[in-house]
């Protein structure tokens, strides 16, 4: 065996775990993103007194697959004299950015593709910010006036809200003390508290900024502006458009994962240190079993035979997962599996909750106008984030140097931050009042007599 093959084998030997989980991510994420789309449509329907997709599969469970196939088959139109290479490249960039940043996310103490890079969290944030190029190049390559305006607007929005998100993460990192994902979650375990309670303002700022960063809910301006129709995505069709769409949902998962790791205690059980609450470990198995029972009960009522079979299949899958989660609790030799599996369950539950918040906002809130959106970002969020970083730092110093109790220090500093927030809002009110009265005044010259003209 010549050395190169030998070296190759040796390389595969050491890194096969990473490669395998890499393939799993690239395959699983589009599927998961598809089902997140289905959940969103179902939730939206539920909140709007209607049923949502019910046709494809029982309760529309096969809808994502049907969508994917449809998008694959759909005609793939490329606008003429558009820049072919970049037109193809843009959605790919936006999807790869989301997927690579998922490489560093730890879905549980055991499931992490890149075995804990030293700059874990920064890597995730950095690579996911590259998704911006997908949008910019997409807008530019489709060579239509409206796509370029849409692309420019979404870039401006992403760049300004990334600053706010970055600063919010910095204040979270101050508490955590390290960039390594495992270290952050352990810090929350050691401190016996999730950082959302220590730095609530930071979590709020990050939540708002991450909504804007994934172009969703009240900030989904670039593609929702009525005269821009679909912003940078207008000229895309078929699978290219699907790539953008999945990129957005994958980004949502990434942002949810970062928020969970940093603020919501990653894969920690709600009360990890409290030992008499250990019965909570049964919850994951219980939860999945309940879902299984629901599917089983619904299976009987399906109109078409094949749907009944499918529902039974889903029910059995849920029961199997419940068994996997429950059995190691009692069987001694399998004890080592418990933290990994349960951690993954709690992590996914929290990310699911975070994404539920995204969706909830999307169905209830109207959309910001572009200048309101930018002024909110620059006049309120970024200064507040800076002040927050300063306050959390101050609190840490008081705690270590002057021996204040940590909670007291943080409560005081949070009050101070909220004070600045109110002050900023007051300033914002005065500015918008001044602005609207200014436009108001100029608009109404003396009512000239229309008939005289």
């Amino acid at each position: 065996m010549n050395p190169t093959v030998q070296a190759l084998l040796q390389f595969l030997q050491t890194w096969w775990v990473e490669l395998a989980s890499g393939f799993v991510i690239v395959a699983a994420v589009p599927l998961v993103a598809g089902y997140v789309v289905l959940v969103e449509r179902k939730l939206m329907a539920d909140m709007q007194a209607r049923l949502g997709p019910m046709r494809v599969g029982p309760h529309g469970l096969l809808q994502p697959i049907a969508d994917a196939v449809k998008l694959l088959i759909k005609e793939d139109i490329i606008p003429d004299n558009a820049d072919k290479v970049i037109f193809w490249l843009a959605p790919v960039v936006s999807m790869t950015a989301a997927l690579t940043s998922m490489g560093a996310i730890a879905f549980g103490p055991a499931f992490q593709v890149a075995r804990d890079i030293n700059v874990g969290l920064l890597f995730i944030v950095g690579v996911s910010s590259l998704g911006l190029f997908g949008i910019v190049l997409g807008g530019w390559a489709s060579n239509s006036h409206y796509s370029i305006i849409g692309a420019l607007r979404s870039t401006a929005q992403l760049v300004s809200y990334e600053t706010a998100a970055g600063l919010a993460i910095v204040s979270g990192l101050l508490l955590a003390g390290s960039l390594k994902i495992h270290a952050i979650v352990d810090a929350q375990y050691q401190n016996h508290v999730w950082f959302i309670f220590l730095a609530p303002v930071a979590f709020f700022i990050y939540a708002v900024a991450s909504i804007a960063e994934t172009n969703r809910a009240p900030f989904d301006l670039p593609e929702a502006e009525s005269e821009l129709v679909a912003g940078y995505m207008t000229e895309y069709s078929g699978f290219r458009w699907a790539l953008y769409f999945l990129g957005e949902y994958a980004n949502m998962i990434v942002v949810g994962a970062v928020a969970t790791t940093l603020f919501l205690g990653g894969w920690l059980r709600p009360f990890p240190n409290v030992h008499w609450l250990n019965w909570l470990d049964v919850l994951p198995a219980l939860f999945t079993a309940a879902v299984g029972v629901y599917c089983a009960r619904r299976a009987g009522k399906q109109p078409v035979a094949v749907q009944t079979w499918f529902m039974w299949g889903v029910a059995w899958a849920c029961f199997a997962v419940a068994a996997i989660l429950a059995v190691p609790l009692f069987v001694a030799p399998l004890k080592f599996v418990v933290p990994g599996l349960h951690g993954a369950f709690w992590f996914l539950l929290k990310v699911g909750g975070y994404i539920y918040l995204f969706m909830w906002l999307r169905f209830t809130l109207p959309r910001y106008r572009f200048d309101q959106l930018m002024s909110l970002g620059w006049y309120i969020l970024i200064p507040l984030a800076i002040v927050n970083v300063f306050c959390v730092g101050l609190a840490m110093i008081c705690e270590t140097e002057y021996g204040w109790n940590r909670w007291v220090a943080l409560v005081v500093t949070t009050m101070f931050t909220l004070g600045t927030a109110l002050f900023l809002l007051h300033l914002h009110e005065k500015r918008t009042a001044a602005a609207s009265s200014a436009t108001g005044v100029t608009e109404q010259p003396a009512p000239q007599d229309t008939y005289a003209g």
Partner: protein, 175 residues
């Protein structure tokens, strides 16, 4: 062995995309190739165990500066500047100067390789595991021995921000 493979891969990508960047007609294409070149250099930082610089390069250079470039290229309608004469005397002179400089410096490197002991090119280097964790070491030295340059850099950035805003602001007073 693995280091060599990674290094040659990233170096190759860097040089190729840099070359392509310089020769492209369309500014957006050259911007994209510059992005690939920067990502390749980030890879080389990683290979040199400088993770923090790897991430800073991605966030700041590629995520920040290149966005600025692409923004300006999109704002500045470039169809005006596309039809440019390719080859002129000025290019020939430039190529000659660069080739001469390159030859001279590479000869110097080549000769220096022969000097034993702690000549220009030290063979050995600190083994990997004894290296302090990169981010902590960087932070420690940045905020202890290099605190003043750090403050000056922040002032510089502030000045640059103000300058850029003032210059690019549309002259609204004209209306």
């Amino acid at each position: 062995m693995l280091d060599k493979v990674i290094f040659f891969f990233f170096a190759g990508v860097a040089i190729l995309s840099a070359a392509l960047m310089v020769t492209r007609r369309n500014a957006i294409h050259s911007a994209i190739f510059l992005i690939t070149a920067l990502m390749a250099t980030a890879g080389i930082f990683l290979q040199l165990r400088a993770e923090f610089l790897f991430v800073t390069q991605i966030i700041l250079y590629v995520g920040g500066i290149m966005v600025l470039f692409i923004f300006v290229i999109m704002l500045v309608r470039l169809d005006v500047a596309l039809h440019q004469i390719r080859f002129r005397l000025q290019r020939l002179v430039a190529l000659l100067v660069v080739v001469a400089l390159g030859a001279e410096v590479s000869v110097m490197f080549w000769v220096a390789r022969k000097i034993p002991g702690d000549g220009l090119l030290i063979r050995g280097s600190a083994p990997v595991d004894k290296l302090p964790p990169n981010t902590e070491a960087l932070a420690k030295s940045l905020f202890s021995s290099y605190l003043l340059p750090f403050e000056i850099a922040s002032v510089l950035l502030l000045v640059a921000m103000v300058g850029a805003v003032v210059m690019a602001k549309k002259r609204t007073d004209a209306q």
